[in-house]
């Protein structure tokens, strides 16, 4: 297969970026999108055409959340329920033009080429996205009963990989799906209840402070989430938020 690639190149955070066009040939339809970029880089290096394109990637099996490219206007490209590393070239046609950009969001500044800084997500978690259980001194695991359907729902929410596709997909660059997923995961479990009100308060305030936009219920985030995290998590976040505003569960 042959492709024409338009790739965002930007030397560093302060430099001005632009699109560069590259041609690439002999790509197997069984190869993954990132393996296609590997082959492009190999060519750029061997032919001394340009410096290789920087892009974040690590596990290449869709779980670490490191990779994330905006491909032809969609985060993680045109296949549903996958990360960029699991996108395969069989989803493209021979001769396609492909536009590749980094995530675009104020809270995720570009570091170089297609690499962005997502430490804002870590800061939201540090604000309270955990259960305070110091090592040792906890009860036997089976002393805490969790109804199966609650555990399953919590697991659905906990499947979030923190890739940032929800923010990239949102016209407001809102992080509500990411925050909603973490708030839901912990609020659904009995272990997470004691801190639930405080948690939602701190995480939402931190999210606003870091420059993420507001949610206007378009649900582009849900449509593009590689782990298919549901918008119900945003609704649960809103319920938790309103509940704590009126003092329900606050500091109980």
């Amino acid at each position: 297969m042959h492709f024409t690639l338009h790739i965002w190149r930007q030397e560093n955070a302060r430099a001005k970026g632009h699109f560069e066009t590259y041609e690439i040939d002999n790509i197997s339809d069984e190869c993954s999108f990132l393996e296609m970029l590997d082959q492009l880089n190999e060519k750029l290096i061997n032919d001394h055409i340009a410096h290789p394109v920087c892009f974040d990637n690590d596990c290449r099996e869709g779980i670490c959340g490191m990779c994330g490219l905006y491909i032809n206007g969609r985060p993680h490209g045109n296949d549903d329920g996958v990360t960029t590393c699991q996108l395969h070239m069989r989803h493209f046609h021979d001769g396609d033009e492909i536009w590749i950009e980094p995530w675009r969001a104020k809270a995720f500044p570009v570091i170089k080429d297609l690499v962005v800084d997502r430490t804002a997500f870590d800061k939201i978690i540090q604000a309270g996205g955990y259960i305070s259980a110091t090592t040792g001194g906890v009860p036997d695991a089976n002393n805490i009963l969790v109804p199966k359907h609650k555990a399953d729902q919590a697991m659905d929410a906990a499947a979030c990989i923190g890739c940032g596709a929800c923010v990239a997909a949102c016209k407001n660059a809102s992080a509500m799906l990411f925050v909603g997923a973490k708030v839901s995961h912990l609020a659904l479990l009995p272990q997470g209840r004691p801190e639930a009100a405080d948690r939602v308060h701190k995480m939402v305030c931190k999210m606003d402070e870091l420059g993420f936009g507001s949610c206007t219920n378009t649900y582009a985030c849900e449509a593009e989430c590689p782990k298919q995290i549901k918008r119900q998590n945003i609704a649960r976040l809103n319920r938790q938020w309103i509940g704590q505003l009126f003092g329900r569960d606050r500091n109980n």
Partner: protein
């Protein structure tokens, strides 16, 4: 070099209790005056840093990714073992201990393994308290599944994403300590060297992967949790950036490296399909609970499948060879990984393999779907099936999966004593980075157990024992000749690597880093992989040396050291892999026996099983670095089995 394992006195079951009751402690006011460096944020690193921070120590933690949540523990699928005996099926600490020792083919240290089994239950308690959403049954109690090498169900799981959920638990605990200010996080930073002052580990040199600048950090102790070195084989189930360099620079500075030839090859991975391939994807061992592994009984059927004339569903039941069930009736499809991998290789080498290359076997769920229904199978393994389908474009509910063994985990690593301290005082190693608990083969669902045991429940004790007299030393500052020397040597190494391709007369004789890494991987897989012989190891040694020489003449690294430069990162990691590959080959050559993941074709039974030589090889091989061009020096730690009765490892 002296190897003192420091195993406490007393009966096996009391050793850890005795250790804890007699070790030295640090009082709370002094803890905050002591600094600890933790390298790596996987299960071992994140849990250690969180626990040490909670105790009041000040911790600096480093990861190469953009966030600590991305360490490769995240990709562990199937589960975590613990001797809870919630299923009332005969499990106990003793049983887990014995299974692990046997699984490791009697090449692990008894006292460490016993402690691992002893604290395994606490791990589950801790994780549940943190909100890890483990699978539950309808009563709300925790559910279990079975894994290879065990006849009980002791594996706790969160769908096919157990590693992710455990890591997010530890990452949560770590985030809490970061917010409290006890832990300082340094993301996108790579450890480049260890600083040793007066014989003790006192700091590290780090490369900031965004700016390329070198930075110095000092501490009273350094804890290495940087994972394994499986990527020496290029294609493996490891993440692209997983590497052995942090451990290797410690080895260069004097830490012994133990049992490098013990490499785990996982039987169920998606087979290789092209030269451009960058990694192999694992299909969880948990699939062997319900999946049955087979190849055709008749060679002509296998050949027809390879030509694309037949599919697996065209092969009648009586023409299928469920070779694991045939060879190992007692454990069937749930034999340990090394056994299952070799059996797959044996069938494929004999001409029964399937897929276009003939290097694949079937993992079939038709029986399970008939017995349990598609819904139940989907609930248990849905995300794995989806992952398989996305990669291969085939529906495993309709057609059996095709799988083949691939490099997965490294049992070898930095030599540590009972306290997880290396041969450099003040340098500790935990998780996959050390060698301690899995002998010559790790059982499934035990890596997560070991990483969290080390981080939550071992290091918080043993580090204190070391740090107790460090309160008299005062703050360690990142200055002085040792820091200067370490930083200068890192800078020189980077500059000389980048200069290579630019010195060469003919730029067309240059090659990229990946070119060399792929070539090294092929040599290692071919000649030092699932089956090794004196002859193949000789070839490997020669080929690696040739490749390494060529690398130092013709590798071309674009860009500068002082910028984000992934090609440079790959280059310095590969330079270390060449040295490591040589050591793996040397270790595999000296170990004239077969045990666990190390299979020497000269040493096998009549029916192709591993043949140990307990008389001559019941020892840990701990290697001492002698310089880039010199062979390493081997030291032996004899393994004394006081409690375990040593028998032939038999899963029939």
């Amino acid at each position: 070099m002296k190897l003192d394992s420091k195993i406490p006195e007393g009966p096996l079951s009391e050793k850890w209790t005795r250790y804890k009751s007699s070790q030295k402690l640090v009082n709370p006011a002094n803890k905050r005056k002591l600094d600890i460096i933790v390298v790596g944020t996987g299960l071992a690193g994140a849990s250690a840093a969180a626990s040490l921070g909670a105790l009041g120590f000040h911790v600096d933690i480093f990861c190469i990714q953009d966030s600590p949540r991305r360490a490769h523990s995240i990709a562990a699928q199937g589960g975590i073992n613990a001797a809870k005996n919630y299923q009332n099926d005969g499990d106990s600490v003793e049983r887990l201990f014995k299974d692990t020792i046997k699984g490791g083919d009697y090449r692990a240290r008894e006292a460490n393994v016993y402690r691992l089994a002893e604290v395994s239950g606490n791990i589950i308690d801790q994780c549940v308290a943190q909100g890890v959403p483990f699978a539950r049954d309808y009563s709300g109690l925790l559910d279990n599944r079975s894994f290879g090498g065990a006849q009980v169900s002791r594996t706790f799981y969160a769908r096919g994403q157990t590693g992710q959920q455990l890591l997010l638990g530890a990452y949560g605990a770590l985030s809490r300590e970061i917010a409290r200010g006890t832990v300082t996080l340094h993301e996108r930073c790579e450890m480049m060297d260890l600083v040793v002052i007066d014989g003790r580990a006192r700091g590290i040199i780090v490369r900031n992967l965004v700016s390329g600048e070198l930075e110095r950090y000092a501490a009273h102790a350094v804890v290495l949790c940087s994972g394994g070195y499986g990527n020496v084989y290029y294609l493996s189930t490891n993440a692209m950036n997983s590497n052995g360099s942090a451990a290797w620079v410690c080895h260069r500075r004097g830490a012994a490296f133990a049992n490098p030839c013990y490499v785990q090859i996982h039987p169920t991975c998606i087979p290789v399909h092209g030269d451009y391939q960058s990694k192999l994807t694992l299909m969880s061992e948990s699939l062997r609970n319900d999946g049955r592994i087979w190849v055709p009984k008749k060679k002509e059927d296998s050949e027809a499948i390879r030509r694309g004339e037949k599919g697996p569903n065209d092969i009648a039941e009586e023409d299928r060879d469920y070779y694991l069930e045939r060879r190992y009736p007692a454990f069937g499809n749930l034999v340990p990984r090394d056994v299952a991998s070799r059996a797959a290789k044996e069938r494929c080498d004999a001409g029964y393999g399937v897929g276009s290359t003939g290097l694949a076997v079937y993992l079939d769920f038709a029986d399970a779907i008939r017995r349990l229904g598609r819904d139940v199978v989907e609930q248990k393994y849905g995300n794995l099936f989806q992952m398989y389908q996305k990669i291969t474009d085939q529906d495993p509910y309709q057609v059996p999966m095709m799988i083949y063994p691939a490099i997965h985990y490294t049992m070898g690593g930095l030599w540590v004593d009972y306290e997880l301290q290396t041969t450099i005082p003040g340098l500790f190693a935990a998780g996959e980075a050390n060698f301690s608990d899995h002998g010559a083969n790790r059982l499934g669902a035990s890596a997560l157990m070991q990483g969290l045991a080390d981080g939550y429940f071992v290091l918080p004790y043993t580090l204190q024992n070391y740090l107790a007299d460090q309160i008299y030393v005062g703050k360690i500052k990142p200055e002085g000749p040792e820091f200067d020397e370490a930083e200068a040597s890192v800078r020189a190494r980077l500059d000389s690597l980048i200069a290579i391709g630019r010195n060469s007369q003919d730029p067309h004789s240059n090659h990229s880093v990946d070119h060399y890494h792929k070539a090294l991987g092929k040599v290692m897989w071919e000649y030092c992989g699932m089956a090794r012989s004196k002859e193949s190891l000789g070839i490997a040694e020669k080929k690696v040396a040739e490749l390494e020489e060529d690398f130092y003449q013709h590798v071309y690294i674009p860009g500068k050291p002082l910028e984000m430069n992934p090609e440079l990162e790959k280059a310095y990691r590969l330079a270390d892999y060449f040295e490591l590959a040589r050591l793996i080959i040397a270790d595999a050559t000296q170990r004239e026996e077969s045990c666990g993941g190390h299979f020497r074709v000269e040493h096998q039974t009549e029916d192709g099983e591993t043949l140990r030589d307990d008389q001559n090889f019941m020892f840990v091989a701990a290697w001492e670095y002698q310089g880039h061009d010199k062979p390493e020096l081997m030291h032996k730690e004899e393994l004394n089995y006081e409690y375990i009765q040593i028998v032939k490892r038999n899963y029939k």
